[in-house]
Every structure is written in C-alpha cells, then in structure tokens.
Point group: D5
Chain length 155, copies 10
C-alpha cells in the first residue's frame, strides 16, 4: 500500500552533519524558545553495534539563524547506522547545532532506554557570552525529565 510518508527523499545512510540547513530568523529581536522532540532516535553501540533507542529533546533560543526542521530530521536520522556512546551522540548534536546557527542558548537531552537494567540520560548545553547567567541557572537546576516532556500527553 502506498506509504504514509512524503514523496521520495534520500535519507543519508551515514552520520551527515552537512545535511543541516539554517535560515534567517524573521524575529531576531524577540527571544523565543523553540523545542524539537525526536520521538524515535536510534544509533548503534560502538562496542557491540547493538541498536540503542532514545527520545531526544532540543530546546534552543535562536539568534540570527534557525535550523530548518526537515534538514534537522534528516540529520537526526543519519545517526541510524552510526556507532557512538550515548553521551557522545548528545554532545555531537549540541556541537553541530551550535556550529550551524550560533544560537543564544541550546540544551540537548537524551532519554535512552535501559540496557541490562541501567539507563543513561546525558544532558549537554551551550550558551553565548550574553546568556551565560541563563546557562548556569538552568545547569544548576537540572534534573532528569525537568527540561523534557511526557510525550504521552500529546495523544
């Protein structure tokens, strides 16, 4: 049966930060939050190549640039056959997005499903000079689940 997805798009088969695209923020003056949730992120364990699964939350305050959502989707899908530890996946997403759009502030949270009874949730964040205070405050008050959201609320 014809698929529910869009027309044909070539999804990168290896980790490809170069697919990320930005566009000019229409309201650079206004500081606004944008939250992206990747409900189905998957990568591979670098040691055992066993698949890992997570929900990835990206909260950021744009400056002049904003990440183009479809390109972000392709970029996150490009981790599919990429081997990396949970912490490094989260740090990479944070660094790549900082490089792309130099936001005022960004935080990335990974809620990975447990393996052998142990679950790991990395949190990485970046703030420009002007948003130092905001970054430190949020860092000090961090808690697992605090800057993410219960997705079962959506339905």
């Amino acid at each position: 049966s014809f698929s529910l997805g869009e027309s044909h798009t070539d999804y990168p088969t290896t980790y490809s930060p170069e697919v990320l695209e930005a566009f000019d923020n229409k309201n650079p003056g206004k500081t606004a939050w944008t939250t992206f949730v990747c409900t189905e992120f998957t990568s591979l364990c670098p040691k055992t190549s066993q698949p890992d699964f997570a929900k990835i939350f990206i909260n950021y305050i744009a400056d002049k640039k904003m990440v183009e959502s479809k390109s972000l989707k392709l970029y996150l899908f490009s981790f599919r056959n990429h081997g990396d530890f949970h912490e490094d996946c989260v740090q990479k997403i944070c660094d790549d997005l900082v490089k792309l759009m130099n936001p005022h502030y960004i935080e990335v949270i990974g809620e990975f499903t447990p393996r052998g009874g142990i679950a790991i949730f990395p949190f990485a964040s970046y703030g420009s000079k002007k948003f130092e205070k905001l970054k430190d405050e949020r860092f000090m008050n961090y808690a697992p689940g605090k800057y993410s959201m219960e997705l079962s609320k959506l339905y």
Copy 2:
C-alpha cells in the same frame, strides 16, 4: 522553516470519497486484521459550523482489495470543512470503505471530544454474508473503548 510534511500534495477541500484508492490484497487467502487510527480527525457541526474533533479507529479484514493508506489519509482530511453529525461521519466512512473494497468485515469507531459536557462515540460495522457470525458477536460485545486503543501507549 521547511515543513516536516511530505512534498506538495493537493488536499481536497471538500468531502471527496472519490480520492479513495484500492490495490490488490497480496495475501487474499489469509484473513488478517488491519487497523488504521486517524489520531486527528476534524469535521464541522452541520447546525452551528463549530469544529468537532475525534480519534477515528478503523479495524477491517480485507478480502480481495485493500485501501491504499495515503488515499485514506486524503479522504479523512476531506471532512475538514464538511458539515455532518458525528454518527453520520462514522457511517459515511464505513459505507465509503465498504463500497471501495468490499471487505470481509469492517468496523469504524469515532471518539469525539465533549461539547457542553456531553461526548458522543458512534460505532458502525459491516460484515459480508460469510462473516455474519463474527459481526454479530463483535456487535453484541461492543463497549466504548473496547475496539479502540489508548494512543498514549505509543509514546
């Protein structure tokens, strides 16, 4: 920012059963259930033209034909500016799909959000001669929520 949706598809702006398409069932011999859930169905109240919202569950056992999923999506979206009572929307969906693919059996459930403290959940079903017994059994044991699913399970 570039949209998350597919490439451009012209969504019918009026109720358009003609957009429905079927294809040949690859496993006609095997009786298998297929469930479609439209998590975000919306139509208009015929009297007040106030928008109504529902989750629509479609459970059916295909015979020779199967409904093509993308065409079903367009068809369900075509109720967007269409005025009809809850019961009639559900009955129309059931009748249109029966006409399209003459399934062994099909049931359609609408879980509409309340208006003025009253919610209405219509249930319509159709069974071919051979599936009479199955239709009657399921009809007798019907209960609101019984043949639908708690979508918050998905995330």
Copy 3:
C-alpha cells in the same frame, strides 16, 4: 467576558423528562451503537440534599427513533436540583429513554464519586424481545468500568 456556551437556552430547573425529543433514525435497517457520555452529571442526595457527582455512560442500539442530543443534554442537566438515590437516577434515565425511543437495547452506567470512602456505581439495562440474548450476555459479563471508558483518553 462573553461566555463560551451557546446562545441563551432555558435550562429546566426541575427534573423534566418532557424536554426529551426524538427524531427518525435515517438508517433503521442498520444496527449501530451510539454512546453518549455525560462527563459532569450532578444531582442531590434525597436525605441530606448534599450534591452528588457522576459520569453517566449511555450505550444504546436505536430502532426507529433516536434521542436528539441537545434535548438529552437539557434532560440530564434537569437532575441538578433533583433529590434521588444513585440507583434511582440511573434507573430513571434508562426508563425515560426507553419510553422516548423504544430502542432495541440500552444500558446506563453511573460512576458516582465516593462519599465517606464508599462509591456506588449502578448499572441498568433494557432490551426488546428480539435483543433478549444480547441483553442477558452483556448483563452476565458486566463489570464496573467494562462498558464505560477512561475519559482521560480524550485529551
């Protein structure tokens, strides 16, 4: 601020089964279930006149007549200042709707909030001669919550 409700409708201030209206079933041939949920039913305790609150579920299979939804809303609101035990409210709703539209089958479930740690959930049902078997089967398999639905699913 102008209210969210409809234009002015005079809500009966006493128990008024006479406000119930029926209309002709467009699909008398087809047996279909219709479920009405009154998410906010309230009546008074006949002994202490303390307010009681419940969710009322009405599942019925129409024959020639169907209850007109707005009139059902007014009728259910008319219990607001009416004193009756939980069981009698549920039995009254069942009897009044049977008198109105002589359905093939109807069941009414009341899920009243507890008083002094005790909650009471009455269940009443009626089936015409032809639907005797269905009525007995459903009666035998009854359980609290079985023919009602978890309303938190709706949002």
Copy 4:
C-alpha cells in the same frame, strides 16, 4: 440529531484577527493570571497544506483590557484553513493578543503533534516595561510542559 454546539455562529473561514474583542478589566488594580487552553487547535502546513494539530496554552496577566472568550474562540478557529509554520502561528497569536489588550504579560505555548517522528513546541512571550523582570525570569526557567498542563487531569 440537533447538534451539541450553540446556536448558529458564523465561523470565519480565513485567518481573522479582526474578530478579537476586548472588554474592560473589572479588577485592574489586582494582578491576576488567566489561562486559556485551546484543546483542539488546527492549521495547515504552508509548504504541503497538510493539516497540523496542537494544544495551545495562553497564560496572561491583564492590565486594563481582557480578551472576550467567545471572540478568542472564533479567532483561534480562524487558523483552520490558514497556512503557517508552527513558530509563526504561536508568534501571531501572541502579537495579535498584545495588540488587542496590551497586557502586563502574556505567554503562548504550542504543543504540536509529531510529523515524521519530530514534534515542534514553540514558546513566545511579551512583557510590558513594568513586568520585564517577570518576563525574563519565566523565559530563563522555561521548559517544554512547564507552563502548560496535562489536560488528562480534567477528567
């Protein structure tokens, strides 16, 4: 069956900020919060015209003017056939309400359902000179879900 909705009201078929009406705040001295939740907001994707769905939360502190609730309902419904990105819908609602009633403070949150596994939740806010500090504090402590509410609590 007669609809559950109000009497006939003509719902605007295109984005119509002009339907918004305000009235004088009876308690201008007292600073009080008012929260509006639109449980069923829908608009169209500007690129693919595919329908988008969200819960919209509006928390504001009125100054001299307050938005009239029924007009707010019509205004939010007027996005139904309007093409705009998630962020721009949220920013428009914020700007239009600021223009209407010049509140002390207002924040608008959109919780859009995912497309292709990615969900976007925009947050926009405005504060008058006197409420600068409150605006910055809330902005700094923002988190997805923090200023919205789990609507399944209501039933």
Copy 5:
C-alpha cells in the same frame, strides 16, 4: 437506600458568603499551609445559564483566624445555582475568604472543564503587607497546574 451523606443539613440554594465561619488558630505563632480542594465545584454560565464544572484549589497561610471546613463546604456548594464567569467565581472565593479570616496569604485556582474546545483556569491571590514578597514570588512563578495537584494520585 439511606444516603452515604451526613445527617440533614440545609444547603443554601443561592450564593451565600454569610454561611462562612472562622475559628481561632490554635498555633498563630507557627506559619503553616493548609490546602482545601473542592473536587466537584459547579456554577452556572451568566449568559447561557449552562452548568460549568471545575476543581477548586485553595492554598492559604492562616494568621489569627482559620476557616471552619464544614462552613467552607456549604459556601462552595452555594455557587450551584449562581451565574458568574469563571474568573469572577475564583475572585469572589478569594475575596470572601480574605474578608472572613484576613490570612497572611491565600491563592485560589479554578480548573474549569472545556466548553467548545476552550478551557479557562483563573488564578487569584492575596497577601498581607508582611507576605508581599511571598505573594510576588509565587505570582511570578505561577503556571497552570503548578499550585494544584493531580487528584488521581489520591486513589
């Protein structure tokens, strides 16, 4: 069957702030919070006289006086046939309790169920001179649901 409620108490049939009674706080020295939750509050829409329903949360810090709980119950029930907008019901409850017991601080939150897809949650608060700072802090950090509680926790 004999009701679950108490012995006969005459519940006021009109809005009656005069039924409120206070008693002397046994521990005036100690600042302690008391939370009252009215799980089933109902009033009428002033325009359409359609019933409205809400959960009302009252958090207060008593000074010399405390509100007597049974009188509070009668007072809240006295809104049953009273027409008022959501915001005004909440503001009235706050003002009446301030007049009764002149508390250090009090906040009243109304979580009304939606009408036509729109829900309104008013928040009103009062603090004596000495508790100015506490009032402003709580006002600045307010969020829908933040000072109320998920009642499904109780069972």
Copy 6:
C-alpha cells in the same frame, strides 16, 4: 475546625455484622447490577496485629432485598480492629451480605496492598440456583482487576 464528616454516628469498634440493614428492592422484577467500592478498608493481621489495607469491590444483583448503604459503611468500618486473614475478611463480607439479602448473585474482591513484596487479592462469589450459570461463567473468566475498577478514573 468542624469536621467534614456527618453528624455524630457511633461507629462499632468490633466486627459487627448485626449493624447491616436491608430494605425492599423497589424494582424486584428488573435485574440490575449495583457496585459498592470501599476505597479505604482496613483490618488487622491475626498473627502480628499489623494493620492491613485494601480496596474492597462488591458487585451484586439484588433479588427482593437491598443492603442499606450507610449500614454497609458502618459494617465495613467494623473490621478496623478485627484480626483476620485477607481471604477470610473477603469470605466473611460475602457470607454476611448473602445472609442479609439473599441476592441473586454477589462477588466480593479484595485488593490488599503488598507486605514484604507479596500482595494477596482474594475473590469470593455466591449465586442462587437460578444464577448458577452466571456464577460459573464469571468464575471461569475471573482475573485480578477484571471485576474491579481503576479508581484513579474517578478524578
């Protein structure tokens, strides 16, 4: 503060089946289910006299007699300082109610909280000659939670 409970009622301090009262069923012809839920049942462990806690569900089909609800409340509270194993408490409640009103059918379910990681849920039922088939069917299809209800649904 004046209590929320009713006027003074002397609660039996020892297990007192004699407080149970019945009244004549107004609708003996009609077979209807009545469900009582005691949300807060407590008794003592006969060996260690440590308090035990449970939710008790009573589903019954009345014949000529019905148990008077307030007397049922007093009877269930009379287990407060009574020592008995979980199974025997449940069996006693079933037997006492059968003796009182000789119902067509009754089932009693106890959902006791765990002790040392082990929870015990007894189920007892009784059916008159005429309701033998119903009793056996329900007995055969029993499952923990099946004939009870998730009480968090109520709020």
Copy 7:
C-alpha cells in the same frame, strides 16, 4: 536504623521448594480464587549470570490444600541466586505449587523486564480433570496482561 522487616527469618540462599508449606482449606466446598502477586521477583540468567527481574502473578483455585503465604514468600525469594531461563522459572513455580497442594486450577504469569529491547512473558497453567474446560477456555483467551493486574493501581 532498626529495619522495617519482621524479626529475623533465615531466607534460603538456594532454590528451595522444600520450604513450601500448605494448610487445610477451611472452605473446601466453596470454589474461590486466590491471587498472589510477587511484586519483586529476581533470578539469574543461566548463561551470563546477569540478574533478571519480574512481577510474578499466581492465580489459583484451591481444592483441599492452600499454600501458606509466608512459606510462599520464602520459596519465591529462594530463586535469588538461582540460574534459570524465564520460561523455566515460571514452569517450576507452577509445578512446585501443583505438587504442594494439588489445586483445582493454577496459572503462573511472569512479566520480566526487557533485556536488549526484548521482553519475555511466560504463562504456565495446570487444571485437574474436573477443571479441564476452565483451563482450556482461559488458555484460549490468554493475552499478555490479561490475567495480571496493573500494580500502580494499588497506590
């Protein structure tokens, strides 16, 4: 701090079915269900000796004998350092209890937490000659979760 547990009891350190004790059923005539839930069962994987965790549900209909609850607790704890596959643990518990008390019917369900994204839920059951029909019916209608209960209901 003095422990919450009972006085000293020597817990077997190896799998010890011999600790199981039975006592005479006081109501052999009456067929009643008893459900034991072990909320915290743990054993070891026979291949990797990694700990496994599950909730174990035991539903049984006693004949002349009943398993003494404290001995059942010790017996289930005796799996703590025992290596066995999920299916074999569940089958052992079923067989050992059949040998102990020769019940009319018993079913044992294990809901093990996932390892590497895969969870395994074994179900074993036994019925005496007289309860053949009941065993087959329940076996035919089995589904994961159907004969167990959502333990979060308890609090």
Copy 8:
C-alpha cells in the same frame, strides 16, 4: 494462612508518642535528606469518629539524632483509634519528631482523601536557627504535591 507480617509486635492501641526511638546519626557532619512515606495512615474524625485516611510524607535533615524506622511505624499506627483534625495530626507528627531528634529541618505533609467532595492537605515544618533560610525558601515555594511523590511510580 500464616501472615505476611513480621513476628508478633504489640501495636499501641492509643496515640503513643513514647514509642518513638532515636539513634545516633553515623554521619552527623554530612547533611543528607531522609524521606519516610506512610502509604496507609488512618485516624478518626474527632467530631463524628468516622475513619479518615491519608498518605503522610516526612522529609527531614537529621542533626545528631535519627528516628528509628520501626518505632516510627508503631508511632504512626498509634493514631489508628485517635480522634484529631487533619491539621492537628500533621502538626503533632511534626512536633513529636522535633522533640525526639531535634533535626536541622523537618516537613510533614498529609494528603487526606476527600470527604463530601472536599479534601484537606495540611503542611507543617520546623527548622533550627541555622536552617532558617532553607525553611523560609521551602515554605514560600510550597505547593500541594510538590514535596510529596506520586507513589504509583513505585510499581
């Protein structure tokens, strides 16, 4: 069947603060939080002697002394046949524990189930001179449910 509880312990039948025992804190230097949750607290209404039920949360920072957990269990059970208003039970628990171990800080929260649709949640706290600031901060930011926890998380 032999009980799940510990060996025989004589539970006080009247309110007995004298059963409380303390022991020396092994880590007096380190400030650490300890939380006790009494999932099943019950006392009597002083006016009507009707049983009341609650979850009691005790969060404290020990100084030189710590309360011995089994003695705390006996002490909390000693309220079983004791008549007191909700606020006074909570205040008594706070005062008795302060007298016993003179902690740096302690807060006691009672979440009582509703009576007649009204629920009362008292909060009492005490801080030594050195922990004044912490006491005031927590008092200012208090909200029902904020310092307690959703116990359904445990299973």
Copy 9:
C-alpha cells in the same frame, strides 16, 4: 565509556531470516504461552525510505520447537535497513517463525507510531489444524491492544 551491551555480536545489516535458530521444547506435552515483546522495532518505508518505528508483540504456543531468544533478537534487528510496508513486516515475521518452529499457534501484532496523523497496526496469526478453533476465536475477538500489553506497566 564501555558499553552496557554484551560482548561483540555481529548484527546482520540486511533482512536475514536465516539467523533464526530453534531448540527442542523441553515440555512438548504441556501447552504453554510464550510472549516476546520487541520494545524497539524499526524498519524503512519502501517508498520514501523514511524510518518507521513500532512495538512488536509475538504470542505463541510452541509444539516441538521453540525459537531461541537471542537469535530472535538478531532477526528482528535485521529489519533495520529493510524497506517494507507495516503489514508486510508483520506478515513476514509471522511466516518466518512458522517456517522455523511450526508452532501450534502464533500471532504477531505491530503497533507502529503515526505518520501524518495516521497509525497502522497490522495483526497476523497462524494456527495448526488442531488449533483451528483457538485461532478463529482469537481472530473473531481481536481488537487493537487486546493481545498486546501496556509496557509502561513494567517500570
């Protein structure tokens, strides 16, 4: 950091039914259910190669052979870069397992997350001659979610 997964295992990168292994059923006489849940199944859309995600439930009654769990894990992971429609993935899993172990009965359920507001849940089943009746009964009574389980129960 060293991974949580097992030692190195080479995960097939293409759809590989040949990795499936069976072993002899130790209790061929006893009919027992085994349920495998793959909490994190992912495949590709054949048209757009966009990733799809689902929970896969496999309930089966073994005859002489049983599927070896680790090989099942590798087999399910081998869909990772495989393009197929939801229905065909589910049908393939059912057919491959039937070919492997010729079970008495097997059913496979896929709960795929929605795309563009539409979710698809295919159900396929197979029964040997002797288990025809069981297959038909379960097929007739099927409902989405009925033979699967709410995985949030596990934690």
Copy 10:
C-alpha cells in the same frame, strides 16, 4: 533458550567497590550532566536479611574522570547479597563514586519499595569546593521525586 544477556561476565557475589573503573573525560572543559538509572537495585535488610528493592538515580557532573558504565553495572549488582540499611546503601554508592572519580558534583537517590506500609527514600550528595553553591541550592530545593524521573515515560 539462549539468554538475552551478553556473553558470560562474572558478577561479583559480594559488595565489591573495587570493580569500579573510570576513564578520562574527553570534554573536561565542558560541564555536562550524566544520569545513570539503575531500574532494578536489590540488597538485603541487615536485621532480617529480607530482600529490599529500589530504583537508584545517580546524577553527576564529571570533572577529569568518568565512571565506566559496565563497571558501574557490576558494582551496583554487587549489593545483591549485601546487608545494609537503605540510607547506608545510598551513602556508600555516593562515597564510592566520589572516591573513584572526584566529580564536581554528584547526588544519589534511592526510591525503595515500602515494607509494612512505610517507604524510605534516602538522598545523598557531594560537591567539590567550586560547586558548593550548586550543592547547597539543590539540597535546599530537594523533594522526593524531584531529581529522579518517572521511568514509565520510557515506554
């Protein structure tokens, strides 16, 4: 059936802090949070040797060293047959990890299941000189559940 776990690893059978291993933090400059959740922690009661069960949350900010995840898993499993009070288990885990990697900050939370209706949740934390302020802030704002996460979110 071959187990789901990894290849053979010898799990320590006694409390073995020596199995803990650290590795160099690749991003020492960046302060990032890492959260480990042990969904299935078990130890023994020192008085009665009855098994205790908990979820352990470890939130820490690494300095030069990071704990190697598989060694942390083995270390936490090594409590399996170790007798210690809840508070001491939590304090040990905190101290051992501080000794291993001298982090900027670490907090350890234990959510133990109740025994005899009482549950204990210890919280221990450590901060280096430079992170004194962060430690005190988080200590002051602590609440049970605040720095842990509802694990049912994961599925």
